[in-house]
């Protein structure tokens, strides 16, 4: 019998941070595997290098600070690293990917004091650092070439692409009238980031919502926040703006909606705050895509809203029981 | 044109410096408001446990930063926290063995009723009469120890303030 006097409650829901992280990894897996399938061993090398670098950096940081090296730290690092590589071009040089993972761990998380203390999403921070430092490598989008004995349909579809992302070509040409096939786009069979297969991300996301891993409020409001203004813009000038569905299916929007914006550490904790946070993310993504200098604005939008997150949380404190309405 | 922009900044600095020094002259306060604010909080027992002869001197020392906010044993943790907020000085975190506020108690076998202690008590927390056993009112006693120093019989013992000794309380959690 324990002789300690222990505080209530004496039972627990069984939910642990480690389990949460594991479920996020599971949610990411379909889209990751699709990316590896489409982009071959070079993508696999990138993912492996980044994971090894991320975990190694984490281990070193913990060691230097004489903190315990738990499995928890590792699973959160895996999530961060996966999110980073899935938002990178699939053939991004592996050593730069490893550098990115190290940056995510050191400057995204550890300098703030470790897990739970960071203000900005580590993966997005690292992505922005890479984008600014290596602009050429970061905008090199290869067409998908499935590695395995390719299914005829995928092969057919994949033939149609050249080296520009949907958003990139809209940005370059200033016209939305591009050769666009919806079906391959939905499955990520188009030039784009490693983890850019919207339908699989959506499935993973819905599974996580069902498992109560992420809050549906952030995901739903982010999608609405991007969908509504893009629908209006498309209705006004359909020649220069992508259709709303294509907006949702392209770039990192789905990844952001279900995996990046929902990062608990950098998002508000209040239910209402989460709504506003999601709406803000979605709207900023739209604004940067349409008016910004970059074709895709997910990373910047998330970082901006991360900075606002404490403010949103403070402004959306809900009414406590028994307080006057 | 450039000369204007080069000069304008130093000029601005000079004007503002003047304004500030003038404001300092005209709006100067006779007394340091911080010292007053500190004095307001101190128990005023003049017990001297902080190393200063009285609370007024201690307040000045605190405002100058030579004395920490946790120097006043009679005030306890509550006072230390208030002072640390007022002074903007962080308290040393309460790690290790926590010290609780103390009060004194008279050992009835030793007290001979000399009345020295209750004449000395700054808070009138000791009752008694000549040649009679004295008693300490523990809900007033601040544990300043003025009585301890004058007692010829060494009859005083310190004990934890009953406020902190009233049954068991949940300790602050220590994270693994």
């Amino acid at each position: 019998m324990s002789t300690l006097l222990l505080s209530a409650p004496h039972i627990h829901s069984g939910m642990t941070v480690h389990r949460l992280m594991r479920q996020v990894i599971l949610g990411l897996l379909p889209a990751l595997l699709m990316g590896l399938y489409l982009f071959g061993e070079q993508a696999l090398l990138l993912v492996t290098a980044a994971l090894v670098a991320g975990l190694l950096t984490e281990w070193l940081c913990q060691k230097c600070q004489q903190k315990p090296i738990g499995s928890l730290m590792d699973s959160s690092t895996i999530v961060t690293t996966l999110l980073l590589v899935m938002s990178l071009p699939p053939h991004f040089p592996w050593h730069l990917g490893a550098l990115g993972a190290a940056i995510a761990v050191v400057f995204g998380k550890q300098v703030y004091g470790g897990l739970g203390q960071n203000l900005f999403n580590p993966a997005m921070l690292a992505r922005v650092v890479l984008l600014i430092s290596f602009p050429v490598e970061m905008t090199d989008w290869p067409a998908p070439v499935p590695v395995l004995p390719s299914l005829p349909m995928i092969n057919d579809l994949a033939d149609a692409f050249t080296g520009a992302t949907t958003l990139g070509s809209v940005m370059e040409t200033g016209s939305s009238i591009i050769h666009l096939k919806m079906l391959p786009l939905l499955f990520g069979i188009s030039p784009g980031s490693l983890g850019e297969s919207p339908v699989l991300l959506l499935l993973g996301g819905i599974w996580m919502i069902w498992k109560n891993v992420i809050d549906w409020r952030i995901s739903a409001s982010l999608i609405i926040g991007c969908l509504v203004p893009s629908a209006i813009a498309w209705w006004v000038t359909p020649e220069t703006i992508l259709t709303p569905v294509a907006q949702l299916a392209s770039g990192g929007l789905m990844l952001a909606a279900f995996f990046i914006a929902t990062d608990p550490v950098t998002s508000p904790t209040t239910p209402k705050g989460r709504m506003w946070y999601g709406l803000g993310c979605g709207f900023l993504i739209f604004v940067i895509r349409v008016f910004g200098a970059y074709p895709e604005g997910v990373a910047f939008a998330i970082l901006l809203m991360n900075a606002l997150s404490p403010l949103i949380e403070g402004a959306t404190k809900h009414r406590a029981y028994g307080e006057s309405k | 044109m450039e000369i204007v922009s080069v000069l304008s900044i130093p000029l601005l600095a000079v004007i503002m410096g003047f304004a500030l020094s003038l404001a300092g002259k005209f709006f100067a306060k006779e007394e340091d408001p911080l010292v007053n604010a500190i004095s307001e909080l101190l128990p005023n027992g003049q017990c001297g446990q902080c190393g200063y002869p009285g609370c007024a001197q201690a307040a000045i020392a605190m405002s100058e930063g030579t004395l920490g906010p946790d120097c006043c044993p009679p005030g306890g943790q509550a006072l230390a926290q208030k002072l640390s907020k007022l002074l903007g000085v962080a308290l040393q975190s309460s790690s290790g063995a926590k010290s609780y506020p103390k009060v004194v108690e008279i050992n009835p076998e030793l007290c001979d009723g000399c009345t020295r202690c209750f004449k000395k008590c700054p808070f009138d927390a000791i009752v008694g009469a000549n040649k009679q056993l004295h008693g300490v009112l523990s809900d007033i006693c601040t544990g300043c120890g003025m009585c301890v120093s004058v007692c010829p019989q060494d009859a005083f013992v310190y004990k934890t303030d009953p406020i902190f000794n009233d049954g068991w309380a949940w300790p602050k959690p220590e994270l693994s």
């Binding site: 019998m1 324990s2 300690l4 006097l5 222990l6 505080s7 209530a8 409650p9 004496h10 039972i11 627990h12 829901s13 939910m15 642990t16 941070v17 738990g70 928890l72 959160s76 897990l115 739970g116 203390q117 549906w216 608990p264 550490v265 508000p268 904790t269 209040t270 989460r274 009414r319 406590a320 029981y321 028994g322 307080e323 | 128990p43 005023n44 027992g45 009679p74 005030g75 306890g76 943790q77 006072l79 926290q81 907020k85 308290l91 309460s94 506020p101 700054p122 808070f123 009138d124 927390a125 809900d139 406020i163 049954g167 068991w168 309380a169 949940w170 602050k172 959690p173 994270l175 693994s176």
Partner: protein, 498 residues
């Protein structure tokens, strides 16, 4: 679940584990040889003993009278008071308390626990006040959790209009089934007690709220109230902490008790089902509150069940009646698993507020180590009071109790919902329990410091006056001496002349 509007804010859904102890009837034990009756059964001042060592007492005789917010205590069995001394108590921290050590007369014949012969209370009443007095005499306290004297609570209704009497049969704590079985087996007594309570608090109608995981109790109550138009039985969803008075009121009446106010301020009066049964026994039969039903449960116990035991029975004796332990009990919890506290010594007696004793196996317990907070916000969603547990805990961890107070710490129920759901397994409840106590002590210290300041000021003023007076006297003396006569002699001559 996603969009359904729940009756209360926040809350959690722990696994009930009620089936462990709810399937067997309430066990009644022969009288134990020795009882240890604590003088401090609940918060407030300890009751004042009215018996002394060596006294003979009869069952039902008052052995300690309530004072300063405490209730009377009666002897559950006839016997002899051995002594009144300290004994280990089943309280948080496991300290000792003054207890009446009662050596019971052995009655090997009686297998029914409640003695048939006992000193009856006077049960005549005409007015509400007199009815409340009977309840006060019987030493009845709320058996739900707060253990507040029922009569004190009832007296507060004399000055306020109570519209509705709410009877709490939620028993939202997992494992506990004592209220469930009381509702099933003593539904007539419960309803009888409700009728008395309606009279005592002046309410027009009563609603019994029962969580929907107790269908049999519901059924018994519906049958028992079939002739009462003003008593309604309502099913509530199984949702922790439905049984907390504030949440219970919110669920049944759709009103919130404003901060700093009491339930009677919103026209409702809440009482627990087992208390109703006790009130019935007191008013109908003149039987004081000397026994209660206790749940003994947990994965480490051989035969979990409910036992009706005299107040003061040692926990170790109750365990023996349940067939002992079948495996190591990693934690022994007094109360429910969400809000109860651990004890380390089974040689401590049950009290009026002891609803359950749980012997938890290691597998049932939460993990011990905690990880850093990832601000997942689950605690915010789970808090039934709408507080921000993560923010409050952070302030407390950094010793900023003032800010924690501003975040609404005083509203915290210590219900444990936040800590139950916390993926980081942070001891949130302990933070709040610690801070609540610490803030209270600091407030007392502050008041003391203020008192000390005032006394010091008065003292220096007095000393000054004395000094002035002394100086004046000295001056007068001097003046008198210079006039040739000492003032004393001058006074004497005046006396002689008159």
């Amino acid at each position: 679940m996603l969009f359904s509007k729940s009756l209360i804010k926040g809350g959690v859904h722990p696994v009930g584990q009620k089936q462990l102890s709810s399937n067997s009837d309430i066990l009644r034990l022969p009288a134990p040889k020795r009882l240890f009756i604590a003088l401090k059964q609940h918060s407030g001042a300890p009751a004042k003993p009215v018996v002394k060592a060596g006294d003979r007492v009869t069952a039902g005789q008052m052995i300690a009278s309530g004072q300063g917010g405490s209730a009377n205590i009666h002897a559950p069995q006839s016997g002899t008071v051995e002594k009144i001394e300290e004994h280990t108590a089943a309280i948080p921290g496991g300290g000792k308390q003054l207890m009446v050590h009662l050596v019971c007369d052995t009655e090997p014949e009686s297998d029914y626990l409640v003695p048939t012969e006992y000193i009856k209370l006077n049960t005549d009443y005409q007015t509400r006040e007199q009815l409340i007095d009977i309840i006060a005499d019987a030493g009845i306290v709320g058996m739900g959790g707060a253990v507040f004297p029922a009569a004190t609570k009832l007296r507060s209704t004399l000055k306020k209009d109570v519209e509705t009497l709410l009877i709490n049969g939620c028993e939202c704590e997992p494992y506990l089934t004592c209220d469930d079985l009381v509702m099933q087996e003593q539904c007539v007594q419960v309803v009888g007690g409700i009728r008395y309570l309606l009279e005592a608090c002046g309410a027009k109608k009563a609603i019994i709220g029962v969580e929907n995981n107790k269908p049999q109790a519901m059924q018994s109550l519906i049958e028992a109230t079939s002739e009462d138009d003003n008593i309604e039985v309502k099913a509530l969803p199984t949702h922790y902490p439905m049984g907390s008075a504030k949440q219970f009121i919110q669920a049944l009446c759709k009103v919130e008790v404003p901060k700093g106010k009491r339930s009677t301020d919103v026209g409702v009066f809440v009482q627990n089902v087992a208390t109703c049964a006790a009130i019935y026994y007191a008013v109908r039969f003149g039987r004081p509150m000397t026994h209660r039903v206790v749940t003994l449960s947990g994965g480490a116990l051989e035969r979990p069940m409910n036992i009706e035991a005299p107040i003061g029975t040692l926990i170790s004796e109750l365990v023996a009646s349940c067939g002992g332990l079948k495996s190591t009990a990693e934690r022994i919890v007094v109360g429910g698993p969400m809000m109860g506290h651990t004890i380390t010594n089974m040689h401590s007696p049950i009290m009026k507020g002891t609803s359950g004793i749980l012997f938890l196996h290691e597998d049932e317990l939460p993990q011990k180590s905690s990880s850093p907070c990832v601000s997942c916000g689950r605690c915010v969603a789970a808090c039934p009071m709408g507080l921000l547990p993560n923010a409050m805990a952070e302030f407390i961890a950094n010793d900023d109790l003032e800010m924690a107070g501003k975040q609404g710490l005083s509203s915290c129920l210590l219900c444990g919902s936040c800590a139950f759901i916390c993926p980081a397994s942070l001891p949130l409840t302990q933070y709040f329990a610690y801070a609540t106590g610490e803030i209270g002590r600091q407030k007392k210290m502050e008041q003391k410091a203020q008192l000390a300041r005032r006394l010091n000021q008065q003292r220096s003023e007095r000393l000054e006056k004395e000094a002035v007076k002394k100086a004046a006297e000295k001056a007068a003396k001097k003046a008198a001496r210079s006039a040739g006569k000492s003032p004393k002699r001058a006074a004497k001559t005046i006396e002689q002349e008159s």
